[in-house]
Amino acid sequence: MQIPVLVFVLKRIGYMVFTMVAVSLLVFLLLEVNVEGVAVGVLGPYSTEEQRNLWLEANGYFRPAYVRYFEWVSRFFTGDLGHSVRFNVPVADIMWPRLWNTAILGFWAMAIIIPMSLVLGVLAGMKEGSPQDRAVSLLCILTVSVPEFATATFFSAVFVFGLKWLPGISAMTDGFDWVQLILPVAVLVTYDFGYVARMTRASMAEVMTTAYIRTAFLKGLPYRIVISKHALRNALIAPFTVILLQFNWLLNGVIVVEFAFAYKGFGALLLEASLNEDIYLIEACSMVAVFVAVSTQVLADIGYMYLNPRIRFK
């Protein structure tokens, strides 16, 4: 790897660490500076003043905030994320499996969304204004404009209650089951592919009007070469960033789908933690969410650099 590229990557990672530190400070300030709130969260609203003070004293909460912050951060690194009040198990024991479940859901959703939207977007953008463009655009607008809860209800009505092909609940109580994954993935794909496809279409349509595509045609290159070699490469730069942003959405935006199908994922966990003021669980979940957000950004920047030589070689 060339030196400038290495510097670039290191810089990006530096920014990422900086962002993580800033966010962790914010989370800590919001949730733990008011120690009373922590005690209420842990001991419940019916605890007495004395019980709370005793608990706070016993757990070192009367020490200065910065000491507690550093302790909190260092515990994070050792993997000790605290104890979930709601589930009465260590946070790590409940959060990692849930994250894994969401990863499975997200993986399959993305595995369909990416190829589908890119192919549709490129087909539409290749010939702006053509029947294929109009058909794709219409489909995308239709699917994007229907919210997830409506699609979930609709799919359930058709496939669960009408045709009775699929189970309506994806709780996977008896272990992993492919069939239970179909509906949540279908809802996610339906909701999201249109957006990415629209982005790809716009980017492709723009590239097709550029002078260098004209040059490629007038050089006498075959149509498929102009598209695959000259247009795609440039047209995929913008959707690449958009796709990486979808990972954030899959982590936090799946709450509706997970809730609708009782899927035991990260989004549902976050919802439950917030509703029950399960402080340690909220903290851990937020940090994981931020980590995913920031690291996909770093990936997006690095990938962008590789796709776009104008940034790679100054």
Binding site: I3, P4, L6, V7, K127, G129, T210, A211, Y212, R214, T215, A216, F217, L218, K219, G220, L221, P222, I225, K229, H230, R233, N234, I237, L307, N308, P309, R310, F313
Partner: protein, 702 residues
């Protein structure tokens, strides 16, 4: 290889091409004929929107989704292209007919290396092996005189200069030795000295390979240098065609006359021969009048003759058998009919010194964050945008600042108006040093006395304010008037003086044409009655006839207000025509300064000499010495240690040029040349441009 120069390469017969849009059919090209023999160069001249590029696209059979040939034929090597299959067309594109484009940067794919883009032509046309294709591309790059072609092959388009990009595009076009090369404004986006190199290269290659050329340009001077025959287009049709000699010495069509009246000729100046713009505007394709399309703008228009029926081309006879013109009255109309109506204008009296620049220096600080710079500790670099700038301008005087892009002209303008402050030295406006005064700390009086006109009129007018508001605001802000009625009165007077209808007071910028916007820009600059106006390339984005009108408006305004005008430009023929003094800049330094006639005659600075040689001149009688500069402009981050021009100078005397800054020698009182060559030697240099004797306004050895 023997070349048969009688072979017809391209024949276009009665071509009519239309675009079919929602509003209906828009005819873009009407009844177009062209015959091109092997090795011949034909030019298509005309202003934007006249259908030149559409013709090129038709030849390539590349008309987009909406364009279609309605009538007529395009025959390539005797074969009708409309009967060819898609695959046959593809085979012809790139192999038999190749194209060079206006913007080389846009024409090359930004994310593929030069090697990929060149070799694929060979791979997909001839099935060449990649190694073989690479070798042949490399040789082609050598043919277009690119230094270090091996390194260039691995570069991406954005890493090389504009001139080199255009050489790559030309090399790519010539890889398969096509019979026909279409050049669509190939040098318009390039600097003059780069343009001269490209023009020479194309001529060299076409004679070497026997390639026929179809040049498309709006630049008459360039056409004269590169073409055998030219066709003048107006509103989708050819109005006059013939050999270059015949058209330039004996133009027949009133539009051709008009075009010549719009370009500054070397033997005239702004007072004796003001430019004559063609009145009116190009008609929209669906609003073309009956009969002659040029009729409504023509001085020699005669009802019943000109607007009766469709006008066909007629031969004029004479030396050039093929000189044809589309005008029913060509026998009665003389070229001078339009030119002679010009009334000479009184020269402006120049007064005392208004602007004085002394040892001005402007450096930009750049922070280098690369690892190498971090380790060596050289993190701060200086871009030496301006160095040792000295000059004076008197009231009513026009001083031109000339140089190619990157020479620091615009930085200088920014310092004057206060967008930047000097690093060193003084800039005095009527004795007050304003060099270190940023625009925010300048008083309204000072602001109003120093105004600027910008290059691109589309970007400089506020799109959401009407014309009247924009100009009125200036008058109010600078405290000239406060009563709304009086402000409006002043704005209307200004509109009169820029020759715009009074009802444009309520127009929004988007409702105006480019030339009208630039006029509003001029009115806005003069609204505060400034002592000095800086015009940064005010006409270079405009069409020939529009530029002429705008130039005259600018000159009239300057005359009315006795304003000092700093005219920043790269176009030496315009500069020659309207300025009193010229400052030639290169890489941030002044190479030569003096009165216009001093700069245009020996002793020259070698750079001035090259610049003068590079200017295309639309005049058959002018003799010009050719000088083509090698190499590219050095980076202002790392300029040569000695004379900035030393890396490209063709008169270099030795190491002293690389090592030492040249002394400033005075050939006359205020004619300064920064060069190591003794004045006597520079004095002995033959003039670059020689004019024949004329009855009036003799400027021999201009």
């Amino acid at each position: 290889m023997t070349i048969d120069y009688n072979e017809t390469v391209l024949e276009i017969e009665g071509l009519c091409l239309s675009y079919f849009i929602r509003a209906g059919e828009v005819p873009a090209v009407v009844d177009f004929d062209l015959k091109l023999h092997r090795g011949e160069a034909v030019g298509l001249v005309g202003e934007s929107g006249c259908g030149k590029s559409t013709v090129a696209n038709a030849i390539m059979q590349y008309m987009g989704n909406t364009g279609a040939i309605v009538k007529g034929k395009v025959k390539f090597m005797g074969n009708d292209m409309s009967e060819m299959s898609g695959e046959q067309i593809r085979q012809i594109r790139g192999k038999e007919i190749a194209m060079v484009y206006q913007e080389p940067m846009a024409a090359l794919n930004p994310s593929l290396s030069i090697a990929t883009q060149m070799t694929e032509v060979l791979v997909f046309h001839e099935g060449a092996a990649i190694h073989d294709a690479y070798e042949r591309s490399l040789n082609m790059l050598r043919d277009v005189h690119i230094p270090d072609p091996e390194r260039l092959m691995e570069s991406y388009p954005h890493q090389i200069s504009g001139g080199q990009q255009q050489r790559v595009v030309i090399a790519m076009a010539l890889l398969l030795n096509p019979s026909l090369l279409l050049l669509d404004e190939p040098t318009t986006a390039l600097d003059v000295t780069v343009e001269a190199g490209i023009v020479e290269l194309i001529a060299e290659l076409s004679s070497k390979f026997g390639t026929s050329l179809l040049y498309i340009s709006h630049n008459l001077g360039l056409m004269l240098e590169v073409c055998d025959r030219i066709a003048v287009m107006y509103s989708g049709e050819v109005v006059e065609e013939g050999s270059v000699e015949s058209i330039f010495s004996n133009p027949k069509h009133p539009y051709t006359h008009g075009l010549f009246g719009c370009i500054p000729m070397l033997h005239t100046d702004k007072n004796a021969h003001p430019l004559v713009a063609i009145p009116g505007q190009l008609p929209l394709p669906h609003e073309r009048p009956q009969g002659c399309y040029f009729g409504p703008r023509c001085h020699s228009f005669k009802g019943a003759v000109c607007d009766a029926e469709e006008i066909s081309m007629s031969k004029i006879g004479g030396e050039d058998r093929n000189h044809r013109v589309r005008c029913p009255r060509w026998e009665e109309i003389k070229k001078d009919d339009s030119i002679n109506r010009v009334v000479a204008k009184k020269p402006i009296d120049t007064g005392s010194t208004v602007l004085e620049v002394e040892n001005m220096q402007k450096y930009y600080v750049m922070h280098d964050n690369s690892l190498g710079a971090l380790m060596t500790g050289k993190r701060v670099k200086y871009v030496k945008a301006n160095e040792q700038i000295n000059f004076r301008a008197a009231q009513g005087e026009t001083v031109a600042i000339v140089g190619e892009s990157g020479c620091g002209k615009s930085t200088f303008a920014k310092v004057l108006v206060g967008l930047e402050t000097v690093t060193k030295g003084e800039v005095r406006l009527e004795g007050v040093d304003i060099g270190s005064m940023p625009v925010k700390s300048r008083s309204p009086e000072l602001l109003s006395s120093l105004q600027m006109i910008f290059q691109n009129p589309n970007d400089t007018l506020n799109p959401s304010l009407s014309v009247g508001m924009q100009i009125g605001r200036v008058i109010k802000r600078f405290g000239l008037e406060s009563d709304p009625a009086k402000i409006k009165d002043r704005v209307l007077q200004l509109l009169d003086s820029i020759k715009m209808p009074r009802d444009s007071y309520f127009r929004m910028p988007r409702q105006l044409s480019g030339g009208q916007k630039q006029r509003v820009g001029i009115a806005r600059a003069f609204a505060g009655q400034p002592k000095t106006v800086i015009a940064d390339e005010p006409i270079s984005a405009l069409d020939v006839s529009v530029a002429a009108a705008v130039t005259e408006v600018l000159m009239d305004m300057q005359r009315n207000y006795a304003t000092t005008l700093l005219f920043i430009s790269h176009d030496l023929s315009t500069v020659r025509y309207l300025s009193d003094r010229i400052v030639v800049m290169y890489l941030g330094q002044i190479m030569e300064r003096g009165t216009t006639s001093e700069v245009f005659s020996p002793p020259y600075h070698p750079y001035t000499e090259a610049l003068l040689s590079a200017v295309p001149i639309a005049d058959l009688s002018v003799e010009k010495r050719r000088i083509v500069l090698e190499g590219t402009l050095p980076s202002p981050l790392d300029p040569p240690r000695g004379c900035p021009f030393s890396t490209r100078c063709f008169r270099k005397v030795g190491n002293i040029c690389d090592e030492e800054l040249p002394p400033v020698q005075f050939a006359a009182d205020r004619h300064a040349i920064a060069c190591h060559i003794p004045l006597e030697e520079l004095e002995a240099v033959e003039p670059v441009i020689k004019l024949p004797d004329r009855d009036e306004n003799v400027h021999r050895d201009v």
